[in-house]
């Protein structure tokens, strides 16, 4: 009897997931498989966009493509810098917002504003902030006497990278802090009281209670941000367009240029495939290590 009911339920369950699977297949699996297929062809202006099967030629070309390796390097730097900065700052802000003080509601609302604004607008604003003639940053530094002449922030590869990182951290930290704040609020306060009675310092309580109990939220934030930062496009596209001299060009920008500007569809598809696989690999490795540390923190062997 029970088995029959179970089987029936399972069948209904499968039926109900079919639409979702179909949608996923259509918008997710199809484009990826299509890109994989296209990456085995040469389709560019050189052959009047008529596809010619060339096997792994596109991949061989990629291995020799200095610009590709450069963008991969830029993407990695950008991802590591922004994600770690955002996590640390987001944690700090979440801890502050979790305290009760007057006007906390308003401060919380203000704190998420940067994340709610459109990226393109924010990117424009930051372009002006870092402007060498009229920018606020240079103005402040000049007034403080820290520099003698205005710095051309977006005109130097390293400084431009720092600028886009700062802009991204400013925009995305609120997202992490709100996510972590939700986790902090689910930790019962009597755990901290038990710690206080046992003589724990705030730092010890943070290590022994907050961090392990917040790990699920940290993992989600990390995976989410890793994937997002690796595919960064809009912010950098508006602020520097990938310049100067490719100093801030990320993989996404390079793919965009390859496909939309050089109309090199086959090679663009190969770039997409490799980026996609790299991203899957990074997220898989990250989630493996995070899961392991979570298990260790939660005491399960």
């Amino acid at each position: 009897m029970v088995d029959y009911v179970r089987a029936q339920e399972r069948r209904t369950g499968w039926l109900l997931t079919i639409p979702a699977i179909a949608v996923l297949a259509l918008v997710f699996a199809y484009p990826i498989l299509r890109a994989v297929w296209q990456s085995f062809f040469t389709i560019n202006l050189g052959n009047q966009l008529s596809p010619a099967f060339t096997g792994l030629d596109n991949y061989a070309r990629m291995a020799q493509d200095g610009r590709f390796w450069n963008t991969l390097w830029n993407t990695t730097i950008f991802t590591l810098a922004t994600v770690s900065l955002e996590l640390v700052l987001g944690m700090g802000i979440a801890l502050v917002l979790n305290q009760s003080f007057r006007g906390r509601g308003i401060v919380r609302t203000i704190a998420i504003l940067p994340w709610a604004l459109p990226t393109a607008l924010i990117a424009l604003a930051w372009t002006w902030i870092f402007n060498d003639q009229y920018g606020v940053v240079n103005d402040i530094l000049l007034r403080l006497g820290l520099i003698q002449t205005g710095i051309n922030w977006l005109g130097n590869p390293t400084l431009a990278m720092i600028s886009v990182i700062v802009a991204d951290v400013w925009k995305t930290t609120p997202f992490i802090s709100i996510l972590l704040l939700a986790g902090l609020q689910s930790i019962p306060s009597d755990l901290y009281e038990a710690q206080a009675i046992d003589g724990a310092s705030p730092w010890q309580s943070f290590r022994q209670v907050t961090l392990p109990l917040l790990l699920p939220q940290i993992v989600i934030a990390l995976l989410f941000r890793l994937a997002q930062a690796f595919g960064i496009f809009d912010l950098i596209s508006v602020m520097t367009g990938g310049g100067p001299g490719g100093g801030t060009e990320t993989v996404s920008l390079y793919i965009y240029a390859t496909v939309m500007r050089y109309l090199d569809f086959g090679y663009g598809a190969a770039l997409v495939v490799v980026t996609f696989l790299l991203l899957v690999l990074v997220v898989a490795i990250a989630s493996f290590f995070l899961n392991r540390s979570r298990k260790r923190a939660s005491g399960a062997v």
């Binding site: 206080a196 009675i197 003589g199 392990p212």
Partner: protein, 367 residues
């Protein structure tokens, strides 16, 4: 008495109007089990949190072994507390939970192991050591929470309604366990509950609280037999004590057609007569002081019937409840004569609600 823990005029005001603890003074000696008993919201937990240092008093002092600890942080007081929710760390095993307090206090690891082993023996926790709190039953969690305080060997144990999350049967069982456990050691215990049975069974002394005020601090026996005021009399004992407001004449209370002598020396016009349902009985003879009434509800409690009787005398009808043996087969609407043995009567002042006792030299100031 050797005072281990002392509260001196302890007061806590969260806001000018929210004052859950009002000038409480009491002391607990070695080996004592003091219960703070009172209805929900009367400030019991707040007192416990003041002792622990989780709250700062607005005025007054907390003394631990004669030393003022009011300004010390909780970690510097050497107290241990069982929370109502148990406050077990969900990500740690039972062993780690029990060890956490010792490790924070930098106890040598050999010592940690031997103490935990001892407590685990005592509470039968060995099989559970590697489980997480989420994999334990309510009773097991409660025992882990108790174990966590025991290994600490504190100067005083604080327990905040530790049985309230257990089902009735388990509660009775764990109550007996707690009594054995804390009875066999010498560290004072302050125990908070709103359950009078727990207070009566566990305590060496009970502090009854209401509205932030200490109502009575006494042994369980005296709390029951000589309640200090109407609140204590009504709060302790189930079913509740009967209260009758009666007129007095020439040092005697007029109860129906009989006159019951008042405590020596009182000459009021009115007084409150309090008598517990278990002390009311069916009158045996017609010259016994008694009240005529009519049964209107019989509740079977197994060993006794709880009989509610409407007294017909006087202006407004009053209801008296009596615990009567099953041999009285009383039907609804049957007439019944209830006798109040004078020895079992408690008298309370109509105005203040305080207990009225025979005037002795020390009580003269009560007039």
């Amino acid at each position: 008495m050797n005072k281990k823990l002392e509260l001196v005029d302890l007061r806590k005001a969260y806001t000018p109007t929210v004052v859950p603890v009002k000038d409480i003074s009491l002391s607990v000696g070695a080996g004592e089990f003091l219960t703070l008993l009172g209805p929900s919201g009367c400030g019991k937990s707040t007192i416990l949190r003041l002792i622990a240092g989780l709250e700062q008093p607005s005025s007054g002092k907390v003394l631990l072994n004669g030393q003022d600890v009011s300004r010390l942080s909780p970690g510097d007081r050497n107290i241990a507390m069982v929370f109502q929710s148990y406050a077990l760390y969900p990500h740690m095993t039972v062993y780690e939970n029990i060890a956490s307090g010792l490790k924070l206090r930098k106890t040598p690891s050999g010592e940690v192991q031997s103490r935990i082993h001892e407590v685990a023996d005592f509470l039968g926790l060995h099989e559970l050591m590697h489980r997480k709190p989420g994999q334990l039953s309510g009773g097991q969690r409660q025992r882990v929470a108790v174990a966590r305080t025991l290994v600490r060997r504190p100067d005083v144990f604080l327990l905040d309604e530790p049985l309230s999350n257990l089902d009735a049967l388990l509660r009775e069982h764990v109550r007996a366990e707690l009594k054995q456990l804390f009875g066999s050691q010498n560290t004072p215990v302050v125990y908070v509950t709103h359950d009078q049975t727990e207070a009566m069974t566990l305590s060496t002394r009970v502090a009854v609280l209401n509205n932030g005020y200490l109502q009575q601090l006494d042994t369980p026996e005296r709390i029951y037999t000589e309640p200090a005021n109407r609140f204590v009399a009504g709060f302790i004992g189930s079913p509740q004590m009967n209260f009758l407001q009666v007129k007095c004449e020439a040092g005697r209370a007029i109860v129906g057609n009989s006159r019951i002598p008042l405590p020596l020396g009182s000459n009021t016009k009115e007084i409150i007569l309090g008598i517990r349902p278990e002390h009311v009985h069916v009158a045996q003879s017609s010259n016994e002081p008694a009240l005529d009434g009519q049964v209107f509800l019989v509740e079977n409690l197994g060993m006794h019937n709880l009989v509610s009787v409407r007294i017909v005398s006087g202006e407004e009808p009053i209801t008296v409840r009596a615990l009567l043996g099953m041999e009285h087969r009383l039907a609804t609407n049957a007439p019944v004569r209830l006798a109040f043995p004078p020895d079992s009567i408690n008298w309370f002042d109509v105005g203040t609600g305080d207990r009225v006792e025979a005037t002795t030299p020390s009580m003269v100031r009560n007039g």
